[in-house]
Symmetry: C2
Subunit: 368 residues, 2 copies
């Protein structure tokens, strides 16, 4: 009895996981986390109207979702002042990244990103046989000039830029990104990941014509809207590219419950404003806690704060491990020099109390 035959590309791929989730870690440590501050989720939760809409929709989930995502696209279209054919909805930005890479990257095709930027994007590029070219962060920022130069040098199919960025929490002005478009090589798509844009200062989102064929921007309900587990993201771009997603996407792949929740969440701007304010308070508190322990918080335009532990990657890893042992789920940037830091997601006051208590012990443990 012989098994199936895998194409070379697939046979050579690792069965890797971009991230190990907190539930896996909880089972390994045999106890639940006391504070869940590692995945940049919104512990403040979704809008109560979104929760109610999902509860109402639960009994109707015997029906497949509307494959065209009509209602949600209409709402986003009106709010953003773009046409419905500028919008694609997918199973989170992760799902959309997979589709986009499949649409553009054939085996061997070059793709440019920052070294240490979103691993799930890299996972998709590698998974479709693309060749990743990585540019270092510069002063804890994605280096736009270097990204564009590298994209020109290798004739990249896609150049990935997150703004604000993860995992450092830094950001560029929208004006800087608009200007960078002049340096974008012909035939390279700028993939602008704006997962954290709602938390950023005014002026962080560039003004880009939705019909500009050189850019796709992606946003999500996973962060400010507090619906990471519902899997709803969207992309804004030129109609030809947007329409192309219909060639490869899982048309009936959206949850009907998530569609209903996202629509209600999108309309509850008061809740969004409240979450943004709570996140700003939490960022300040995380920064204060870090400083009180002699550490250096980096400025953040996101719902997390990356804290420089002041030594090398091994030290930061030891701090991280000691936090996890105390029941505080946090993560750290994977790539040097970012790996001198740990990353703490915004939490409620009670979550941050736990972090505040655990951090000095973790530092003491790491210094030993």
């Amino acid at each position: 009895m012989t098994g199936p035959r895998y194409p070379d590309l697939i046979a050579k791929l690792p069965s890797s996981v971009p991230f190990v989730g907190p539930e896996v870690q909880e089972r390994q440590r045999g106890a639940p986390f006391l504070a869940r501050l590692g995945a940049n989720e919104s512990v403040f939760g979704p809008s109560p109207f979104a929760v109610a809409a999902m509860q109402d929709a639960a009994g109707q989930c015997w029906q497949y979702a509307d494959a065209t995502n009509y209602d949600l696209i209409r709402a986003i279209s009106e709010h953003m002042g773009v046409r419905p054919d500028n919008i694609i909805i997918g199973e989170g930005i992760d799902g959309l990244l997979g589709y986009l890479v499949r649409l553009l990257v054939a085996p061997g095709d070059p793709v440019v990103t920052s070294d240490g930027a979103y691993p799930t994007f890299n996972y998709h590029v590698v998974g479709f046989g693309g060749t990743l070219h990585k540019v270092p962060f510069h002063n804890d920022h994605e280096d736009i000039d270097a990204l564009m130069a590298k994209a020109a040098e290798v004739e990249a199919k896609i150049v990935y830029l997150s703004n604000p960025d993860n995992p450092m929490g830094s950001w560029h002005s929208g004006a800087k990104i608009e200007k960078a478009l002049d340096a974008l090589p012909d035939g390279t798509l700028l993939l602008l990941d704006e997962a954290y844009i709602e938390f950023a200062p005014d002026g962080t989102a560039p003004t880009i014509d939705a019909d500009d064929p050189r850019v796709i921007r992606m946003r999500t309900f996973s962060k400010a809207f507090g619906m990471a587990g519902a899997r709803v993201g969207y992309g804004i771009g030129a109609p030809e590219l947007i329409k192309s997603f219909d060639k490869v996407r899982n048309h009936f792949g959206m949850s009907r419950i998530s569609q209903a929740g996202a629509l209600a969440a999108y309309e509850d701007t008061a809740w969004l404003d409240e979450v943004i304010a709570l996140v700003a308070e939490a960022r300040d508190r995380i920064a204060s806690i870090a400083k009180a322990n002699g550490l250096s918080p980096l400025p953040s335009a996101t719902n997390f704060v990356t804290v420089d532990c002041g030594q090398d990657g091994a030290f930061a890893k030891a701090v991280l491990t000691a936090l996890i042992e105390q029941g505080v789920f946090v993560r750290m940037p994977f790539v040097s020099p970012g790996d001198r830091a740990i990353r703490i997601s915004a939490g409620r006051p009670a979550d941050l109390d736990i972090f505040e208590t655990a951090l000095p012990k973790a530092l003491e443990s790491a210094r030993r």
Copy 2:
């Protein structure tokens, strides 16, 4: 300003949709359907325990789902008597089909299915550049011997068999499928789609060792469990193949709410039994209505009945159109000779009352 560059494979794909959903048709006709009997959804709905579990989970959807689907895999493992490493969970069978095709089918690779079988599988095969070889149905059944012979002839990577099948509703005994494994060529994977297996008579599911590397079987929460809009399917197969899904899947792609619902639904066997009984009653009623109108219902082991309209495809299409105009959402098999029939999903008595009233008028209209 130039747009992105698409690989040849993608540039040549149609922006096609495997199915047009009922919501799209409702917007086109400017009125909601009175009876939703076209997509083999379970109008009886999910278990009340599943609804409650999803409602409870809605407020927690700020958390990403457990990427390992631990709890649901554990439950299926115990119920089916297979190991957790024999099970993969995905975003419906549709999602799993996409992953499986990507894992095995490189451009030009041969794949075998029945002409008129599940279009979404074909969509994925074409989407990854595979070459489809189609074998006709035989007496409204998938022709197992011909499928195996064609698989051997073309050295297929995958041979697709649904049992019971859609869209005809016919089925083979499990024993016949077990015997067919002897004719499965080396290096061909049998993809056994058991989406409708819960509705089928005892003995329809073959006994196949979950570790047999020649077979993957897929099941779903979309049909008997009434959760089509929640997107949960699962595959059972040998650990090497199951593990390979980790190379390509959207690890955090599951809805946390859907995970909770599926777990509760899976454990409510009383509701499952009730739905199966209600579906059997509905099948009988659809058959009676068909016969009362001079039509021939085909035997069904699914939650739908395919009704032979006794003339050609154009006539059946006219009947279908006239039903839709009266607010009855139904579909028909796309491929001759199946296209002499229309397909009606099991409904509640009130749904079937509407169908019963509409059918004679539709026939009258089609005969004019």
